[in-house]
């Protein structure tokens, strides 16, 4: 990392008339292995490295980047974007960026087993074993498709701002994704996409107990395929698993509380929000169980960081707190607009991406019950443990989740599997209708998409098992 080059970019921008400038070196080194059954399809390594420069100039926010790491290239980029900004000068109304607690710091996630701890052939042999474990536990179905995508990522960043920030970081990550389709001549097909990921080194793979977990998933999904019946049509108690409630927290708490979305900056892309600026503090759900946190500082998490991409110190944010709309996710631009200070939520996917408000690790807080206690007094209900299909509307209100591994609950116990139960409800209906939460907080990884050009950033989402009041299940086309 050439720190002098970053300082040059900032100094040159300021000399050119910028009110504020920041330059971020950002390297994403990735290795990816794609396998089909137990055979390698391809192996690729990519190095995405460059400098992103953001400038506040004459009421405009300008962003430029290059992977040509020289002073000449950077000067050319800055001159170019300033020129384009001048063409549109009368449309710029940005007053500035908010004051914030910015860092002068260097931090690193130390891998217990670094990414090069094992040679690549050993890693591939371990991935091949996954297929054997999946096949070995099938009884009646066949494995119609089986694919594995293994990815290692090393992210290195260095940020210099004109108001004094210097933040250097290094975070390794590992992710593993399975896609399998089980087929049966009479029962059709069923598909599961399973993702594991975190920050750290190869020790993460040990902790995931990959073979056991995969075998467990294949067994459970096969049972749903072979024995699954139609879900009930009458209203029933609904219990959602951690995988589902985590996604709900991400989609219907994290996204609608992003301040740039609330202002309208993403209106033409990912949409706006049911939340309006004046609703901050509103008791929207009237339910003490409705507490959602976004916390970038969780060790080993996929969305881990300690300082954001504007140099602001990260901290846990209570987005919803006991049913209230408690805190928006801010970068420094939205913080000034909303007359507050940034809470360190600015993230960029790579050097070519501007920092915008993003989630990190978002979760619905756990409760006190064991799972057994949560369902013990349900006469007839449905438990949706995992999902495949989901979506939510562009203001983050109406949403749908289609269950994958799902069961009937009868007389307080899990009973026969059911296929494709659908819950389709509003954000208010979900958070207002939580009647109990288990103490089992679990996390799941994802790549959250937002921005233009689209930026996918690593996140975790999590939650406990949640019991809702009675509802009628939605419709699914078999």
């Amino acid at each position: 990392m050439d720190v002098d080059l970053l300082k040059y970019a900032v100094d040159y921008s300021i000399k050119s008339g910028a009110k504020y400038a920041e330059a971020r070196y950002h390297l994403n080194n990735a290795l990816e292995v794609v396998m089909r059954y137990d055979k390698v399809v391809g192996i690729g390594k990519s190095k995405v490295e460059g400098v992103g420069i953001r400038i506040l100039y004459n009421g405009q926010l300008l962003f430029t980047s290059t992977n040509r790491l020289s002073r000449d290239a950077i000067k050319e980029c800055i001159d170019g974007v300033l020129g384009r900004g001048k063409t549109l000068s009368s449309l710029g109304r940005i007053k500035g960026l908010g004051e914030a607690q910015i860092g002068n710091v260097s931090y690193e996630v130390k891998a217990l087993k670094p990414l090069d701890y094992k040679p690549i052939d050993v890693k591939i042999n371990e991935l091949k074993e996954c297929y054997k474990h999946a096949v070995a536990c099938l009884k009646e179905a066949t494995l119609g498709s089986f694919a594995v995508a293994y990815r290692e990522l090393e992210e290195v960043k260095g940020l210099v701002t004109s108001d004094g920030a210097w933040v250097e970081s290094k975070v390794p990550r590992v992710s593993l994704l399975f896609n399998f389709v089980l087929s049966h001549p009479q029962r059709g097909t069923i598909q599961r996409i399973l993702n594991l990921a975190g920050s750290g080194g190869l020790e993460l793979m040990d902790g995931w107990r990959v073979y056991d977990l995969l075998a467990e998933e294949v067994r459970s999904v096969e049972r749903v395929l072979i024995d699954g019946t139609k879900p009930p049509t009458e209203p029933v108690d609904v219990v959602l698993g951690s995988e589902v409630t985590g996604l709900i927290a991400h989609e219907s708490a994290g996204h609608p509380m992003e301040a740039d979305r609330i202002w309208g900056r993403e209106a033409a892309q990912a949409g706006e929000s049911y939340v309006k600026p004046e609703m901050l503090g509103l008791n929207a759900f009237n339910n003490e169980f409705a507490t959602v946190v976004d916390d970038p500082t969780m060790p080993k998490s996929y969305g881990f960081y300690l300082y954001d991409d504007e140099g602001v110190r990260a901290r846990p944010k209570y987005i919803y707190l006991n049913g209230r709309l408690n805190e928006f996710l801010h970068n420094r631009w939205t913080a000034l607009l909303f007359k507050t200070t940034s809470n360190g939520s600015a993230r960029s996917m790579n050097y070519a991406s501007e920092p915008i408000p993003r989630m990190s690790n978002t979760y619905l807080t756990p409760g006190d019950y064991t799972f057994e206690e949560l369902i013990e007094d349900i006469d007839v209900g449905v438990y949706i443990k995992s999902y495949q299909e989901w979506n939510i509307d562009d203001v983050r209100w109406g949403q749908r989740y289609v269950g994958l591994e799902s069961y009937m609950i009868r007389n307080g116990e899990l009973a026969e599997p059911i296929r494709n139960p659908v819950v389709e409800f509003t954000t208010k209906a979900f958070y207002s209708n939580i009647v109990g939460k288990s103490k089992n907080l679990r996390f799941y990884p994802g790549e959250c998409g937002k921005g233009e050009p689209p930026q996918g950033v690593p996140v975790w989402f999590g939650g406990p098992e949640v019991r809702l009041g009675k509802m009628r299940l939605g419709v699914f086309v078999q």
């Binding site: 690729g44 498709s145 694919a147 409800f425 509802m471």
Partner: protein, 444 residues
């Protein structure tokens, strides 16, 4: 520092042989891009990018290794190759391996608009006319993007391909708001046309300004006129599923519905056309150096075949379709054949259903079965006996692709060139009239 792409490419091929690779290909992408983003009638950010990115396809005895990164000088290729050679020794022969083909492709000409290449500030400035046009239609506020760029792409292979193609592109979309209503429109091309940019604003504003009382409808099956925005999104999903690699990985409905299967109504024909120079996906040669050509994906409702590179073709006993991707074949430009209906006539044909302007967030429950849902957004009108009776908010289409495609009753004569956030592959699409689609909404 400026690098000569031919010098870089030839050096890379020569050096790869010296290192010990048995085959190689090099792609070099040199790009300049500007994007203007606006919301609430004001500029939110002007972004510009300048990039040189090199990717290497390296083979040693059937073992495949891909590597990509920026280079500052030609010597950087040496480090990339020697590190790759250290790694490739430990790999096994790829299931997908097939020898690189003899090159046959030629670059297309006429893909460069010198206004975009040399005066991108003028292109960026057209955002003014978009916003003005939108507000004149009655919209209160508008958001959107103008994205324009110049790309030079060069390909070299150890089979002798030495190809270079350059092109420009512009993609514009806007979303207009009036009260609780919103409209959206899109345009994309290889050439700048300020009148078209302005139309993106006026049409979005027009749709946002259609005000009808909100009505409630039951979950159920309805007819629908789908605009080119939502239909292009669905066609993108279908075309991606036609990639042979997606099928091999179990991420495609064409696992179940193979070539020759009837997956749509006779009215539906979809082709991949890289030779359509008006659309930004145009390309004269694929990433293996093969000539690209127009081919049917769906013809009169029948799935004609997968998109292949030479590797997936060899594995599946087919011929390459000129759609490489070194690993994954992909479409270039999608063209939906026009129908014979007027846009107004299509709405008049609806007895009980909807006019759907736009959608987002399409997700599968099961790729192989084609079971999916997607959420409507922007203008959604409830239509009875050919007349709009009211507006509805954010219903969901929850169905299967074979069912939706098989129930297409008609398509419009007019077609539109679409590319935006939800439609990554440039698509020329008409309005479509579809029967028997399941619409759902939140139960509580």
């Amino acid at each position: 520092m400026s690098l000569d792409l031919f010098e870089v490419g030839r050096y890379a091929i020569k050096h790869s042989k010296e290192v010990g690779f048995t085959e190689s290909a090099v792609s070099i992408r040199n790009s300049e891009r500007t994007m203007v983003k606006f919301a609430n009638n004001e500029l939110t950010v002007v972004q510009s990018w300048s990039e040189l990115y090199v990717e290497l396809y390296l083979v040693k005895d059937g073992r495949i290794y891909l590597v990509g990164g920026p280079i500052k000088a030609i010597e950087d290729l040496k480090a990339m190759m020697s590190e790759s050679y250290d790694k490739i020794r430990f790999l096994e022969r790829s299931e997908l391996y097939a020898p690189l083909p003899e090159p046959s492709g030629r670059p297309l000409s006429g893909l460069v608009d010198h206004v975009i290449k040399e005066d991108v500030s003028r292109v960026a400035g057209s955002v003014y006319s978009l916003i003005d046009a939108c507000l004149k239609e009655g919209a209160e506020r508008v958001a959107g993007v103008l994205d324009a760029g110049y790309v030079k792409y060069a390909l070299f292979t150890s089979k002798g391909a030495e190809l270079e193609e350059e092109k420009t592109y512009v993609t514009v979309y806007s979303r207009a708001f009036k009260g609780d209503n919103s409209g959206h429109w899109v345009w994309t091309s290889t050439r700048f046309d300020e009148r078209k940019v302005s139309e993106v604003g006026s049409r979005a504003g027009f749709y946002a300004s259609i005000t009808k009382d909100v009505v409630s409808v039951d979950v159920g099956r309805y007819s629908a006129v789908l605009s080119p925005l939502i239909f292009s999104n669905l066609v993108n999903y279908v075309a991606n599923a036609s990639s042979a690699l997606m099928s091999l990985l179990g991420l495609s409905m064409f696992v179940k519905y193979g070539p020759g299967s009837k997956v749509g109504s006779e009215e539906l024909s979809v082709a991949d056309d890289p030779l359509e120079v008006g659309l930004p996906g145009a390309r004269g040669f694929d990433d293996e150096g093969i000539s690209t050509f127009k081919k049917s994906i769906i013809e009169k409702g029948v799935f004609k075949g997968y998109l292949h590179n030479s590797k997936t073709a060899a594995l599946m006993g087919a011929s390459t379709t000129g759609n490489a991707g070194w690993l994954s074949p992909h479409p270039w430009n999608l063209i939906v054949e026009a129908g014979d209906m007027d846009e107004d006539e299509m709405v008049r044909e609806v007895r009980r259903g909807f006019f759907v302007l736009n959608n987002w967030y399409t997700r599968y429950q099961n790729y192989v079965e084609g079971q999916f849902s997607t959420v409507t957004r922007d203008l959604l009108l409830y239509v009875e006996n050919g007349e709009a009776k009211g507006s509805v908010k954010r219903l969901r289409v929850a169905d299967t692709f074979p069912n939706v495609l098989s129930n297409i009753r008609g398509l419009s004569r007019s077609r539109y060139d679409i590319r935006w956030w939800e439609v990554p592959t440039p698509t020329r699409a008409p309005f479509v009239l579809v029967d028997n689609i399941l619409f759902t909404r939140p139960e509580i």
